[in-house]
Every structure is written in structure tokens, then in C-alpha cells.
């Protein structure tokens, strides 16, 4: 299979081509069609030309989660073509492909599963109808396979390319018949990902690889004290660096915040970096130079004593706590985290009059081209039709590339330069300027009965708010639902439950980070359940199962996990197992972590994960995602988070902001995929992350008797 760039594709598709293209309106779920003879400038879900070249667009950015395979497969399965016989192109936020060109919330496959299958099925029915007409037979006498329509009685066949002209004259079937899953040839199978040969050969194009003729480069000095503003700068020395062309101010907007930095533009990136070092800048740090994380943590600890806004309430926790002899309380603390995408943040922009072209790695093409709220055209004051995205493979997203801040900054630089300009953040910039996952503290209180059953549970979250950071219109008297994500929605049957939220003001921009607030709240919630199991003198698995008397997804997952992890097999002294699960908007996963404890060091020996999906498109991709989520979760649990001192982020490159290396990765990760029917589809990219930290904390307790309530935990010194 070959994959070619959009520009080459348009050249190749040339004026001699007759194209049929099938589109779907994602708003009403209705399939619509336009056929174009000899058109050059269009973007279909499916394009078939008269030479039988078949192209399918991937509308969900490929960040490593496998959409370059899974999304076209939804169409290809129903259209009866194989992935090695088609070209796949990443979409660029084109209006005609609908407003859902984005990857976030583990939603790519489950959000497209039926709609995109309908696209493929409709197209197939049109080609079959065209062939039937040509042969003068009924459509029921024909079938499609491998990009061809066959005549059942004569065994003759037409390729789809042979039928383009006839098929493009037909109406699109409104309600095409979808295949029975038992007949699937691609879906549900471990089909190799077509992006992998490109990524192994070094030819996959990421945003940072854009090569636009005449392009220059820029590096931006931003105020190291977060919240500071630009007073003045002297560019004289920077301009003396050979290759430096211009020094300009650059405004960047992140949610409700706006920052102005100084950009050095040069004819090569190295010169831009040298010019940046030669800048003399005066910042107004506005009092933020006094901010430090240790004080802020103390502030959160005192806020933990406040009542907060109630999220969910069942029964009365207060009366149970007052009367119970077996009540415990704990404060759990998690740090600020950076996304640390391997591809540093970057954006190439060419502004020509009203027209803006962007080459970048983004999770949200539809926001870049203006099909959604909070879109780029609105932020930069251009009309959506004047903004063109040239999308690329994304070198890691994890939530960071849901945001448009770096594009706004790059556009503001490009507006002052009459050439295309590539803005590349250094690794240090990528670590230090956010937006970040917020610091989240949890105050927990629970009681168990004399028989060792959980009778009340209270979880209060103390944290900055994602909504507060993203909009100055946020109403602080109302709860930000994203900050109490999942804590009131587990399948555990709890007679008395209360969840609540205390807003902590913060001046640093915060944002979604893979699995959002579940990445921190699950740690507190599931470790505290372990504390209560201990209080009840119960096995942590039994204690949980006793709260799952009714049938539920969680119950099924935990039953499978108990067996798969050998939970009931005794471990020797010095080893321990911990269990945790998490159910949230993205999906459901349970994990057992097995650790050994030697000379004050904890080593993760084995992780067993059970992820519940309902329907699976590519089981191998699912396993890869869960393996990766576990390793990312181990970084978040055991490596330093982001801290501020004197208003500045203290971490910079991978020495001070380390991520897990291969020698630290668990030797064994077993992933079990539960896929027991197509009715409910759960997400894949995020659910593997939340249960890991609590399962690790619970395993450390089992092995050492020490309860970890603050992350990160230094595994080399327990």
C-alpha cells in the first residue's frame, strides 16, 4: 500500500479522473453523496476513480492510538476492500467531512462505529446497483468482494473503477444494510497498522517535518515566571547573530489566559535559538515571582477542611460517620503533570492576506478549521473558509494537542513575516509553559460496619478547575463536573455516599491530560477503598466484590481479573499484589499490580489488566494502548511532577522532568480484552491509565505495610 501526500494525491487524481465520492452528514447521521467528474479539489470519505484507485480518508488524527488503521477499516469492511488495496489519507478538518475530526476522550472508534460503516455500506450498494444495471440482472444476483462486483450466475466481475460513471449517477441508499459481525474480515482482527511501515522507515510526516518552500524558523522566549507580562526587550544583540531576520512580539492565548513572548525569526532554527539567547528582555512578573508549589500545597491542605460544592449524595454519610466506631480519614495528593509529548510542540504557518495555512500536529482538525466552538479562526480573527490545515501524524497528544494556543502564537508571528514560518518549542518550552494537568488533592472519609461491610464513603476533591482555566465566564458557585469525574459513578453499591468539590484558585493554565481527572482521582478513591478493606480485615478483592452484588460491567471485569492475575495464589514474603479498577467516561479497566520489595526498593514485576470494550476493532492495538497507558501511569506515579519555585517551573528537560525508560518498564504486562457484544462500545486510549497508580499503591501496602498517599512515590526509597 502506498500513502501519498495530499498535494501529490490531488496532482495524481488530475483532471482526467472521474471520481465518485461518498460523504456523510455527521449531524443527522444521514448519508449524502456528491459525484464529481474531473474535479480537482475535493475531499471525500471514499474516492474511487476510473483507474480503480480507491482512497479512504481517516478523520481521526493518528496520535499512536491506531486510528489510521481502525477508522478507515470501518469503511473498508463494509465497502469490501482490503487495507492493502487502498490509499489512506489523513483529513485536514474539511467542512465536508463533518465537525468530528478530532481525537480525544477515547472516542474515535466508538463515536464513528456505525456512521462510518454506513458510509462504506452505502457505497458498496451503489456499485452493486450499477453493476446489476449493466448486466441487466437483479442486485440480489450480485455481490461485492475485494473491490469488485461479481455476477453470481455468470461469475463475471467489474472492478469498482469500471463502475464509477454509472454508480456516481445513483442516489445514495438511505438505510444501507450493515454486515453481520460474524462475516467481518477486518473488524475485530489484529490487522497490521498501515502507518507502521512509514514510522519504521522514517518517512511518516509529523507536523515538525513540514517543509514549505521559502520557510523560515522561529523560537520564542516566554516569561519564565508564569503570569508575567512583557515590559520591554532589546533585540540588538539577537539581530547580530548571522541568519537572524527579525524579532517580533508574539501573543499566545491559552483558555482565559493571554501571554506575550518575544520571537526570534531566522533563516535556520539554530540561528533562531542563538538569537533567542542573545535577547535582553524585561518582564513584569506581577507578584507571581513569589509563588511556589510548597505553599500552594499547604493552601490545598487547608481548603480540604472546607465543605465544598456537593456533587452527588446518597443517604447520609455524616450520620454514619458520627455513629460508626470504624471510621477512617485520609488526604491523598497528586502533582501537576506535563504531557511531555516526544514531538515538541510546533506549528508552521503561512499568512498571505486573509489566507492562513497551517502545518501542525493536532488532535482537533475541526477546531483548527472552525467547525467547532472555541475555534482557531475565531481566535485569530479570520474567516473559517480562509484557514487551511495541512494535517500530519501526531508525535504524541495525551490531551496537549487538543489546545490551540501554540497555533495562535505561531499565526501571530507569521502575520509579521512575509514568509512561511516554522515555530518550534524546545524541549524545555514544551515542559515549562503548560497547560498542565492540575494538582489534585482528595479528602476521603469512610466507615465499615462490625461485619466488615462498607457503610459510608465520602470523597472531596480539592483542585483547580479545567473549566475555570478555559474560560473567564466560569461560574465558581457551580461544580466543574470534570473535576469530580468518576468518583460518584463507580458500580460499587454504597448505601451512603457523598462526593464534593472545593475550587482552588490557580494562575497557571491547566488542561486535560490522558484520562483527565481520573488520572488522579482513581488513585485516591481506589487506595482508600483498600484502606477500608484493611480496616474491615477483608481481602481487598473480596471487599470490593461484596459491594458488587448486582450484575455490572465492573463485576465482570473484576471476576475475570481475579482469575487472570492468580490473585488467590499466595505470594512469598517481600512480594505483594494490589488491585484497582476505574469506570469513567472513557471506559473501564481493572488491574492487578505485583511488586517485590528488596532493600527499600519497589520493583513492578507484573501487571495484569482487563479492559472492557463491548466491541473491538483491533485487539492488538487495544493491547498496545493498555501497555502504553500502564507505562505512562508508572511515570506519573513515580517520577517528579511539575513544581514551581519563585513563580517558575523548576523542571525543564528529560533530566529534571524524566519519563520512564526501557530499563524501568515492567518485565511483564498482560492485557485481557473483554469484547462480548457490539451494543456498548467503550473507549481504549485512556481507560488503561487510571487503575494503575492505585493498584501500585495497594501492592506497595501489601508488600511493605506502608500506605502511599502522595504521588509521586520514589520507588527506589520506600
Amino acid at each position: 500500500m502506498t500513502v501519498i501526500s495530499r498535494r501529490n494525491f490531488l496532482k495524481a487524481s488530475g483532471s482526467a479522473t472521474i471520481g465518485l465520492w461518498i460523504g456523510i452528514s455527521m449531524l443527522d447521521g444521514c448519508v449524502t453523496k456528491k459525484s464529481v467528474a474531473g474535479a480537482k479539489n475535493f475531499t471525500p470519505y471514499i474516492l474511487v476513480d476510473s483507474d480503480n484507485n480507491i482512497t479512504i480518508y481517516n478523520i481521526k488524527p493518528e496520535l499512536g492510538q491506531g486510528t489510521f488503521q481502525s477508522i478507515p477499516s470501518l469503511i473498508a469492511e463494509e465497502f469490501e476492500v482490503t487495507l492493502d488495496a487502498i490509499k489512506i489519507l489523513n483529513s485536514n478538518g474539511e467542512k465536508v467531512l463533518g465537525p468530528h475530526q478530532s481525537a480525544g476522550g477515547s472516542s474515535s472508534v466508538r463515536g464513528s462505529y456505525n456512521d462510518l460503516r454506513k458510509v462504506g455500506a452505502s457505497a458498496k450498494e451503489m456499485f452493486i446497483a450499477a453493476a446489476a444495471t449493466k448486466w441487466g440482472v437483479n442486485v440480489s444476483d450480485c455481490y461485492a468482494e475485494n473491490g469488485k462486483v461479481f455476477n453470481k450466475s455468470s461469475h463475471k466481475s467489474f472492478t469498482y473503477g469500471d463502475l464509477v460513471e454509472e454508480a456516481s449517477g445513483l442516489d445514495v441508499p438511505k438505510d444501507p444494510k450493515l454486515k453481520d459481525p460474524k462475516d467481518f474480515k477486518i473488524l475485530g482482527k489484529p490487522v497490521p497498522r498501515p502507518d507502521i511501515p512509514m514510522k519504521v522507515g522514517g518517512t511518516a510526516q509529523f507536523g515538525i517535518d513540514a517543509a514549505v518552500p521559502g520557510m523560515v524558523y522561529a523560537s520564542v522566549q516566554r516569561c519564565p515566571v508564569i503570569g508575567g507580562t512583557l515590559k520591554s526587550f532589546d533585540a540588538a544583540d539577537a539581530m547580530k547573530v548571522p541568519g537572524v531576520l527579525k524579532v517580533v512580539e508574539a501573543e499566545r492565548k491559552v483558555g482565559k489566559y493571554s501571554y506575550v513572548g518575544v520571537a526570534v525569526v531566522a533563516d535556520n532554527y539554530w540561528a533562531a535559538l542563538k538569537g533567542r539567547k542573545a535577547l535582553r528582555i524585561e518582564w513584569d512578573t506581577k507578584g507571581y515571582e513569589k509563588f511556589n508549589s510548597a505553599d500552594y500545597e499547604n493552601k490545598l491542605r487547608s481548603l480540604a477542611e472546607e465543605d465544598g460544592l456537593v456533587d452527588k449524595q446518597i443517604g447520609s454519610v455524616t450520620s454514619v460517620h458520627a455513629s460508626s466506631a470504624n471510621t477512617c480519614e485520609a488526604l491523598y495528593e497528586t502533582p501537576v503533570a506535563a504531557h511531555s509529548t516526544m514531538e515538541p510542540i510546533n506549528c508552521t504557518v503561512h499568512v498571505q492576506g486573509d489566507k492562513v495555512d497551517l502545518w501542525t500536529s493536532t488532535q482537533v482538525p475541526s477546531s483548527v478549521t472552525g467547525e467547532r466552538d472555541n475555534n482557531l479562526p475565531a481566535l485569530i480573527g479570520h474567516r473559517p473558509e480562509d484557514v487551511t490545515l495541512h494535517a500530519a501524524f501526531v508525535g504524541g497528544g495525551f490531551g496537549r494537542r487538543l489546545y490551540l494556543d501554540f497555533m495562535v502564537e505561531a499565526v501571530n508571528i507569521a502575520k509579521q513575516i512575509d514568509k512561511p514560518v516554522k515555530v518550534i518549542w524546545t524541549r524545555e518550552d514544551t515542559t515549562q509553559f503548560g497547560p498542565f494537568r492540575p494538582m489534585t488533592f482528595s479528602k476521603l472519609k469512610g466507615s465499615v460496619s462490625g461485619e466488615g461491610k462498607l457503610i459510608s464513603f465520602e470523597h472531596k476533591v480539592i483542585s483547580p478547575s479545567l473549566h475555570d482555566s478555559s474560560s473567564s465566564a466560569y461560574d465558581k458557585t457551580k461544580i466543574d463536573g470534570s473535576m469530580v469525574e468518576g468518583i460518584g459513578a463507580q458500580d460499587y453499591e454504597m448505601p451512603n455516599l457523598k462526593t464534593s468539590f472545593v475550587l482552588a484558585d490557580y494562575h497557571v493554565p491547566v488542561c486535560a491530560w490522558r484520562s483527565v481527572t481520573s488520572s488522579t482521582l482513581a488513585f485516591a478513591h481506589e487506595c482508600f477503598i483498600d484502606e477500608l478493606a484493611n480496616k474491615a480485615k477483608k481481602d481487598p478483592f473480596d471487599f470490593r466484590m461484596e459491594m458488587l452484588t448486582k450484575s455490572s460491567d465492573t463485576k465482570r471485569v473484576l471476576q475475570k481479573l481475579r482469575e487472570a492475575s492468580d490473585w488467590d495464589t499466595k505470594l512469598p514474603a517481600g512480594k505483594g499484589r494490589g488491585v484497582a479498577q476505574w469506570l469513567f467516561f472513557a471506559g473501564l479497566c481493572g488491574q492487578v499490580v505485583e511488586v517485590s520489595y528488596v532493600q527499600n526498593k519497589i520493583k513492578v514485576d507484573k501487571v495484569t489488566a482487563v479492559i472492557d470494550l463491548g466491541t473491538v476493532v483491533n485487539p492488538d492495538t487495544v493491547k498496545a494502548q493498555v501497555e502504553g497507558a500502564i507505562i505512562m501511569a508508572l511515570t506519573a506515579a513515580s517520577k517528579p511532577g511539575i513544581t514551581l519555585a519563585d513563580g517558575k517551573v523548576q523542571q525543564a528537560n528529560f533530566d529534571t522532568a524524566p519519563v520512564l525508560r526501557i530499563n524501568e518498564a515492567p518485565p511483564e504486562i498482560n492485557v485481557i480484552v473483554l469484547a462480548e457484544g457490539e451494543e456498548k462500545i467503550k473507549g481504549v486510549g485512556e481507560p488503561g491509565l487510571p487503575p494503575f497508580a492505585p493498584a501500585l499503591g495497594n501492592a506497595i501496602f501489601a508488600a511493605t505495610g506502608k500506605r502511599i498517599r502522595k504521588l509521586p512515590v520514589d520507588l527506589t526509597n520506600i
Binding site: M198, K199, G202, Y269, M342, P344, G396, R427, I631
Partner: protein
Amino acid sequence: MATYNLTVNEKSYTIDAAPDMPLLWAIRDLVGLKGTKFGCGMALCGACTVHLDGSPTRSCQIPLSILRPGQKITTIEGISKNVDHVIQKAWIEHQVPQCGYCQSGQIMSAVALLASNPNPSDEDIDTYLSGNICRCGTYPRIRKAIHAAARMAAAKG
């Protein structure tokens, strides 16, 4: 500014650049081979790994001025003609990459490991590749793929 003759993947390129420009940026932006990636600029992540006369080297730390004339530079684009080095084949077989950004560097390190140690243990792999960061967490598959590549190479003889 100075003029340099670089031999990259057995092809010769003449470029004009500042003597302190790291080889990484020369390869990417002057030679135009984009498979070698910028990750950290401090030899901490390994995304920019190339081979200098066969030795894995962090190209972000090699100023053009220290390159010797005729020194052979090999990038990810140069290790095979058709993405068919045993390491690349094993990477495809085990579906190693996720986002893929670090993988050029991982592969350049793995190719060098196999050249020096045809049958590495997990521990050898961990030691040799600990300089290559993968944020997606493909490490378990990297280990499996290197073992598979070692078997493939041994079978080929």
C-alpha cells in the same frame, strides 16, 4: 558560515552552515532528511540517533565543525533500501510504534545493538536502549522485536 561536505547514506551533500550548528539540524533542514527527529537537544532522549561510521550517535550534540571529512553518516532512511532491515521487519511484525516519533532513534540504537551483540538478553536490551525515550510506552514490544530480529538474523546466517 562555512561549507561542509557531508556523506549521508552514501550520498554526498554540500551545505553552508554555522560551524556550531548541530548535525541534527543540518540533516533535517539542509540535507532534507526528516526521519531523524528533534526530541530534547541535550542527548537525553535519543530521538536524533544516527550512526557515525557505524556508531550510534546523538546528532543533536555533534557540531558540524567536529565532523571529519568523509565520515559516514547513516540515518533511518539509509539502513535499508525497502524498510527491510531485520530490525525494521521485526518492528513491523510486532507492531512496535504507537505515535512513532521516537522510533527512528529506537531503531538506530537497536540496529547498532544487534551489530555488536547478535543475541542480546532483556538486560542487554534495557542497558543499550535506556538512552532512547518512548513516551507512548512501547518498551515491552521493543524488547520482543529485538529478540525476534536476533532470531531472524541468526536464521539468515
